[in-house]
């Protein structure tokens, strides 16, 4: 996965803002696909849509960092359908070092991606999880039922950054 440092900073800035009641913020990145040698898939997030404050729901389960309304998911689905771009659910765990998807993330992300795949089967969808200085991603490539971890996430700018490297 490759994205510009400007886009990465805008995502970090948004996700770092406190919410009135949600423990963490959520957003969606929209990404295009590229192909390289040896069947390597390249995923290029090109735009970020924060989930507006009013689309967060007070979660009944205290273990959930953020619950968002179906409206925000529908908007993301509509965009993938309109543009052909993939949708990546993005959130951040407020610590340094390599983050890990929680059990709730691992349970909910496939359900969300299924919706995105219905809306735009030709794109790569998934989830991107940031920490303060690292990131990992799970990606469902077109036509694939199972995800693969992003081999690495390149932040392209000054300086270059490489996250999630195996």
């Amino acid at each position: 996965m490759r994205m510009t440092r400007a886009l990465y900073h805008s995502v970090l800035a948004d996700l770092s803002r406190p919410h009135l009641f949600a423990k963490e913020r959520v957003g969606f990145l929209f990404a295009r696909l590229g192909t390289a040698a040896n069947s390597l898939h390249l995923v290029f997030p090109v735009d970020y849509a924060p989930v507006p404050d009013e689309q967060y729901i007070k979660a009944a389960n205290l273990g959930i960092g953020a619950e968002i309304s179906s409206a925000s998911i529908r908007l993301a689905m509509q965009r993938t359908m309109d543009t052909g771009e993939g949708a990546l659910h993005v959130h951040m765990h407020e610590h340094s070092g390599r983050p890990r998807f929680s059990r709730i993330d691992s349970r909910e992300l496939p359900l969300l991606v299924t919706s995105f795949q219905y809306a735009c089967p030709g794109a790569a969808h998934g989830g991107l999880l940031l920490s303060k200085d690292d990131a990992i991603a799970l990606l469902w490539l077109p036509g694939q039922a199972d995800p693969i971890p992003a081999e690495r996430i390149s932040i392209v700018g000054y300086p270059l950054g490489f996250y999630g490297r195996q």
């Binding site: 390289a36 390249l42 052909g84 700018g157 300086p159 270059l160």
Partner: protein
């Protein structure tokens, strides 16, 4: 890997060696400039190379082609093989994907690079290479040199090192590529002989380009935060930032809009 080998570049940072070892570097053109670059990258510790050059070594290359020998000129050794030999001589475990062709014939490999060096002749070649780098979000470092002579004045040697960063100003924004010059280029390339090149000027530009790449990767200076456009004035042995950098606006490059990345995407109307 020997610790001692890199002890004198440990100031690059504690993660520098790992970053350098895993970075995939592309070099298009392995002649006067590219041969310096591959040699230096191998010395520094880079292990992953994607290389392109369709040419073989000939006698006129020996005035500047680092690593090429008299025997290579006699045997017409492909330039990619000279580069491979030089890299493997320093890095036994290097992975080298080398094509004796134009990069356009094997573009998929280039897309996997983390940084691309362009050491190509001509403006049209630069434009194509930069367009590929932009589309696949890869920093592109361009070097070039030319020699002009007007009337009875001494020849003037000039060159450039440019870092074209996705999202930032491109070679067109920076004024290196103009439609006028592109249309004229096939008719001329300097006037001091066919494609004039000398080893010392190539060395200055290639070394500077490698320095830019290492800084970009390791952030050791913590100072590289904007476009690089360095002009080389060979007659005076001066390398300095181009004045155009002072007048760049903050607007996004109009030639490569942010959304135009990845494979072309077709949608039914």
């Amino acid at each position: 890997m020997s610790v001692d080998r890199y002890s004198r570049q440990s100031f690059l940072g504690k993660h520098a060696e790992a970053l350098i070892r895993t970075c995939v570097v592309g070099a298009v053109g392995l002649g006067g400039g590219g041969s310096h670059i591959t040699q230096q990258m191998a010395h520094i510790g880079f292990l992953h190379y994607i290389l392109y050059d369709s040419d073989v070594v000939e006698e006129p290359n020996l005035n500047r082609h680092v690593g090429a020998t008299k025997a290579d000129a006699t045997d017409n050794t492909p330039k990619i093989e000279v580069a491979r030999r030089m890299i493997l001589g320093l890095q036994l475990e290097a992975s080298i994907e080398a094509y004796q062709s134009r990069w356009q014939d094997h573009p998929y490999s280039l897309r996997g690079c983390d940084v691309i060096f362009g050491c190509v002749d001509g403006l049209a070649e630069r434009r194509e290479l930069e367009a590929c780098a932009r589309r696949y979000l890869i920093p592109y470092i361009d070097i070039g040199i030319d020699v002009h002579q007007v009337g009875t004045e001494p020849p003037v040697m000039a060159g450039q090192v440019i870092l074209s960063m996705p999202g930032g100003p491109c070679l067109t924004c920076l004024g290196l590529l103009t439609e006028d010059e592109l249309s004229k280029e096939t008719a001329r390339y300097g006037s001091a002989g066919p494609r004039p090149q000398v080893v010392w000027a190539n060395g200055v530009l290639a070394s500077t380009a490698v320095g830019v790449a290492v800084d970009l990767l390791t952030d050791w200076t913590r100072g590289l935060r904007q476009s690089v456009y360095l002009c080389y004035y060979g007659n005076q042995a001066i390398l300095q930032p181009h004045i155009r950098l002072e007048y760049l606006g903050t607007e996004v490059c109009p030639h490569y809009p942010p959304g135009q990345v990845g494979d072309p995407l077709f949608k039914a109307l």
